[in-house]
């Protein structure tokens, strides 16, 4: 066998292994979720009732689905102005300068901070600061969780957008300048249209990360298992309720938690697929 063939075989088996891992995960999630769906049917997805009291057990995933989507979309919206300006700064205005290199390094550093550290920072610094500037209550809730998530996903959104923006061919931009375009006009009509699929991909990556984030959210969201009444109220997310309740769960409750895991898996899958579709349409 020549080396080419060996490489091919190794690569093939490794990718099959990854495929099997994903399939195995899906298989055990579906297997574990069956009792919950048998008991509640599709109402499991649309019911807002979460009652673990023995004898009157009723589980619905809606509070957590709503909580997850609210925190993740909130985080995406909050991070958008910050990360977008940063990527323009790094990829367009100060491309290749030392300032950009240092700033880029710091942004990437944000991605390396463990989630629990963000949680602690949010708990001891961000939350009291929010109370200080006049947010009511105790500072726990969807908004605080979304804010910390926004900080956590900035590096994911920024790095990719910045890379793509700096890859826009100079010829195009110079052509626009020679036609008398201002810098802002070049950005809006040349740079962004050229880089948009990469920028969108960056934000989808960031959104996916926000969907599954657990520790920092658990520490700040207030963990109430009801459909959130407002953006500033308390709530809970899918990942957070699983992390909280898994240890002591059995029977129907355990199955319901696994079912929530399955739903999270599916939602993440759908969002990624939708993102891919958008990118394809744009090109």
């Amino acid at each position: 066998m020549n080396s080419d063939k060996i490489t091919k075989t190794v690569l093939f088996s490794v990718s099959i292994l990854i495929l099997m891992l994903a399939a195995g995960m899906l298989y055990s999630l579906v297997g574990g979720a069956i009792p919950a769906f048998k008991e509640f049917g599709l109402k499991f997805i649309f019911s807002g009732e979460w009652n673990p009291t023995e004898g009157e057990e009723k589980y619905g995933a809606l509070p957590f689905i709503v909580g997850t989507l609210m925190t993740s979309f909130g985080a995406l919206i909050l991070c958008l102005p910050l990360s977008f300006s940063t990527s323009l700064f790094l990829g367009e205005y100060f491309r290749g300068t030392r300032v950009a290199r240092i700033l880029g390094l710091l942004v990437d550093l944000l991605a390396g901070i463990p989630s629990i550290v963000y949680g602690l920072w949010g708990f001891y610094v961000l939350r009291p600061a929010l109370i200080e500037i006049g947010f009511g209550g105790r500072g726990f809730g969807i908004f605080t969780a979304a804010l910390i998530l926004a900080v956590m996903i900035i590096p994911y959104a920024t790095s990719l957008s910045n890379e793509i923006i700096s890859m826009v061919p100079n010829d195009l931009k110079e052509a626009a300048y020679s036609l008398g375009a201002t810098r802002l006009e070049v950005i809006t009509s040349v740079t962004i249209p050229n880089a948009r699929s990469g920028i969108v991909a960056g934000y989808i990556l960031a959104f996916g990360r926000a969907l599954g984030e657990t520790m920092a959210v658990t520490m700040l969201i207030g963990n109430t298992n009801q459909i959130p009444t407002s953006f500033f109220g308390t709530g809970n997310t899918m990942a957070s309720v699983i992390a909280n309740q898994f240890g002591e769960a059995d029977g129907l409750k355990l199955s319901s938690l696994i079912a929530i895991g399955l739903l999270l898996f599916l939602i993440t899958g759908i969002i990624n697929a939708a993102g891919k579709l958008i990118i394809k349409k744009m090109n």
């Binding site: 574990g32 023995e54 726990f140 059995d250």
Partner: protein, 353 residues
């Protein structure tokens, strides 16, 4: 799903796994015991198990995976004994593949912690507990609270109830007490390791609840006594069934088990009739099969298990419990535990004399 659960358990008990291979050989090597379960008694078990290993050479490893996990592990026969904060109901006992006995190992309580600047003493009656935890009283300057605490300057501050967000034996004992003293609570909330809370916010584990309370003025919540004592957290006096306001302490918790205890020790000690007792107290148990000859276990293994548990209720081990802020078992409970251990058999023959 069973495979899935076993996998998780395997990860937790990773370090303890070599034991299963040793189980069937009786080559005179040191026996090792594997156990898993409740996290509430974990500090005590860690200390006592290590001590016993030093003393006897029997290695005891324990995975704090929660009471539910402890019961599951015993059911799947992957441990020598399990540990739980809530005793098995008759239904749950019937589901087990063999007869299971309960051995109480120590006592703990659930304390009411609060964060009120300038308030050093707080007395809470059953009626007040119900109203605070069900959201009927929402401010600390409430007239009823003031009337119950004459001379205490209760501030004008919103009440925030902090409960556990994870399933927990602490929640079970707390809600068991509330169910006993409040009809409204019994009807609307009930007893369980996790509940449908009428008000409040959740935090994970004793450290989470304690941390949230310490960070938020006006917060009140319930915490395991072992954690509260170790951290010297300020706690409220709770009214017991004799009408006395009792501060939780090692002595007042132990007093809760002074009354009648059934022979199988399966009893919730909350709302004890003893006038000196702190009312939100309870046992924590180790559970094992009554007949130890199962799954090819050797006599040696069975003997080591029972001998070890007999030591756990001895004076020597109980003294360790107090060191890490658990209340030792009173004499009556120790006698009952010893009697149960002497009824444990191997192929029909009792193991301990």
């Amino acid at each position: 799903m069973r495979v899935f659960l076993s996998f998780i358990l395997a990860v937790v008990l990773f370090s303890a796994c070599q034991n299963s291979a040793k189980k069937s050989n009786s080559s005179g090597e040191n026996v090792s015991l594997t156990a898993a379960g409740a996290t509430f008694p974990l500090p005590y078990y860690n200390l006592a198990f290590k001590d016993y290993t030093k003393k006897s050479g029997t290695l005891v490893t324990y995975g704090g995976i929660g009471s539910g996990g402890g019961i599951r592990s015993l059911k799947d026969k992957v441990v020598d004994f399990g540990a739980t904060d809530a005793y098995l109901s008759d239904d749950k006992l019937a589901e087990m593949p063999g007869e299971v006995v309960h051995i109480p190992t120590c006592m703990g309580a659930v304390v009411i912690a609060y964060n009120l600047p300038g308030v050093d003493e707080l007395k809470l009656s059953d009626a007040l507990l119900e109203k605070i935890f069900m959201g009927e009283i929402t401010n600390w300057n409430d007239a009823e609270l003031k009337a119950n605490n004459p001379g205490v300057a209760l501030p004008d501050l919103e009440i925030t109830f902090v409960h556990r967000s994870d399933g927990s034996g602490t929640t079970y004992i707390f809600s068991d007490y509330m169910t006993k003293v409040s009809k409204k609570w019994a009807d609307e909330v009930g007893t369980g390791k996790s509940l449908k809370w009428p008000v409040g916010m959740g935090a994970k584990g004793n450290p989470g609840v304690a941390g949230t309370i310490s960070q938020a003025e006006g917060a009140v919540g319930y915490i395991g006594s072992e954690f509260a004592f170790a951290q010297k957290i300020q706690t409220a006096k709770v009214q017991n069934s004799s009408g006395e306001y009792i501060l939780p302490s090692i002595e007042s918790i132990s007093a809760a088990a002074q009354g009648e205890i059934p022979a199988d020790t399966r009893v919730m000690l909350t709302n004890s009739s003893d006038p000196d007792s702190y009312p939100i107290s309870g046992f924590t148990w180790i559970i094992l099969y009554k007949d130890q000859a199962y799954d090819g276990r050797s006599m040696e293994q069975a003997k080591a298990t029972v001998e070890f548990l007999d030591w756990m209720v001895s004076e020597e081990a109980q003294a360790q419990a107090a060191k890490v802020n658990y209340a030792p078992l009173p004499e009556t409970a120790v006698q009952k535990a010893k009697a149960i251990l002497r009824s444990v058999t191997y192929e029909g023959k009792t193991i301990l004399e």
